[in-house]
Amino acid sequence: MIEFKEVSFQYSSERKVIDHVSFHIEKGESVGLIGANGAGKSTVMKLLLGLLEGEGEIRISDIPVNRKNLSAIRKICGFVLQNADDQMFMPTVYEDMIFGPRNYGLSKEETEKKIDEILRLLDIQDLKHRYNHKLSGGEKRMTAIATVLAMEPQILLMDEPTAALDPYNRRMVINIINKLPQTKIITSHDLDMILDTCDRVILLGNGKIVADGKCQDILSNQKLLEENRLELPLSFMYQKEKELL
């Protein structure tokens, strides 16, 4: 489904932000992309979406990511930005939700049906006609996800989906992510959330893949995580403390 082959990227003369990175993601997989600040997580996302152009080969559903195919790639991939305020540029939730589907040629009736389904799935029907600037942080995050889901993407890319959310909204977002059938790539420093939502983890460090494997294996490896300026998820920490006691 997603093929990243020997991809490198650098901003002007700086060191390589992404250095010969290769990975393959199968349809339906949930992959956590983790790493310290500056490890290259967001750059990988932007390369996938064609927002940045690097060296090497990237293919999504067998379509090469290049300027010619941007429209097709962006129809397949939905990207939930880290800052929901940047994602929601229309005055109301409804207008924001119809933006994508209508741009891709869906009729008004089909769009209406689709957005009602999505709002029901996320249990936010009451937000449909609300003004974006009057939403709380959690509501904004939920509607940002809804605006992307309305486009029916096959692949969902999420940049820090639980950042700045209170525990209740964080749990809501995790539950929603788990309900979604799409192939997912999630970047986050919230390793407990990654543990709850992903089957596989790719650990990036200095623009290279340091580890790629099962979520449980990588996230329970304290040494590996600490070498890459990360910490054990709280759930593993408690488990370890229990064992010590």
């Binding site: 940047d86 540029f89 005055p91 207008e95 933006f99 891709y104």
Partner: protein, 267 residues
């Protein structure tokens, strides 16, 4: 709430006004845009000394304010930063054009003062008409109407993005002003020594936010066209609205109504 937050609130309020439900809101955006353009051109075409003829053109904003339920004082308040500029355009006319036009109660009124007031009234009428268009029509619908008039997409994109970026920029000003005042509690405003870095940072931060917003639009299929705005077919009521105003503008332009009414009383 700091000044930037208040400004942001006012900006957002424009979107809420445009989502209203009055009769004017339901007319086609294309027709409203055309009527506004023709109105502004008609207002601007009046001679600089024809103040009496121009006054009657206030009928258009007056009627629209009444029907749409918008407040004229609210409009003046929102445009408080633009209006001084409008007044400033003709400020030197009374100094240079000193020929006496009429003497009222012993006070000579010069042509300079007449042209000054004409320019001010023209400005206020044109700005009110633009405000009425913005407050009764969504920005995306206006842009779509502009595209229908074959205005190049680069211009409509610029207009749309400027509209969206202004709120981002004001948001950044608000965040930065709060951050500044929290570390300079006894200062009024921002000290001039910080102006350079403040503006530089504001520019960089706004550019970052603008880039993110543009990416978000592109990622959801935006390519310069307004497919997501519902088509508003021009119906009979729209044509009637257009014709009524055009005939009225033409009448107001060709007949000095104020002078004509005056002539009925004064021989």
């Amino acid at each position: 709430m700091n000044k930037a937050e208040k400004a942001l609130y006012e900006l957002n309020e424009m979107d809420e006004l445009a989502n209203g439900n009055s009769l004017i809101h339901h007319f086609s955006a294309l027709i409203k845009l055309l009527v506004t353009i023709i109105y502004i051109l008609t207002v601007m075409s009046f001679d600089r000394y024809n103040l009496s003829g121009l006054i009657i053109m206030a009928i258009y904003p007056y009627v629209l304010f009444q029907i749409s339920g918008l407040s004229f004082t609210g409009c003046l308040y929102k445009l408080r930063f633009v209006l001084p500029l409008v007044l400033a355009i003709g400020i030197f006319n009374p100094l240079f054009d000193r020929h006496v036009f009429v003497v009222l109660a012993g006070i000579p009124v010069t042509y300079g003062w007449i042209s000054f007031f004409t320019i001010a009234v023209k400005g206020i009428l044109a700005i009110s008409a633009s405000y009425l268009l913005m407050a009764t029509t969504k920005i995306d619908a206006i842009c779509k109407a502009m595209r229908k008039l074959h205005i190049p997409s680069i211009i409509t994109i610029l207009l749309l993005l400027t509209y969206r970026y202004v709120s981002l920029m004001v948001e950044e000003v608000s965040v930065m002003t709060n951050a500044y005042h929290l570390r300079a509690p006894d200062q009024k405003g921002i000290h001039y020594t910080a102006w350079g870095s403040f503006l530089g940072q504001l520019l960089l931060r706004s550019m970052d936010r603008a880039k993110e917003l543009y990416n978000a639009m592109m990622l959801r299929g935006y390519q310069g066209e307004f497919y997501y705005v519902d088509d508003q077919p021009v119906g009979l009521k729209d044509i009637m609205y257009f014709l009524i105003w055009i005939i009225l503008f033409w009448l107001c332009r060709s007949v000095n109504v104020v002078q004509w009414i005056g002539s009925m009383f004064v021989r």
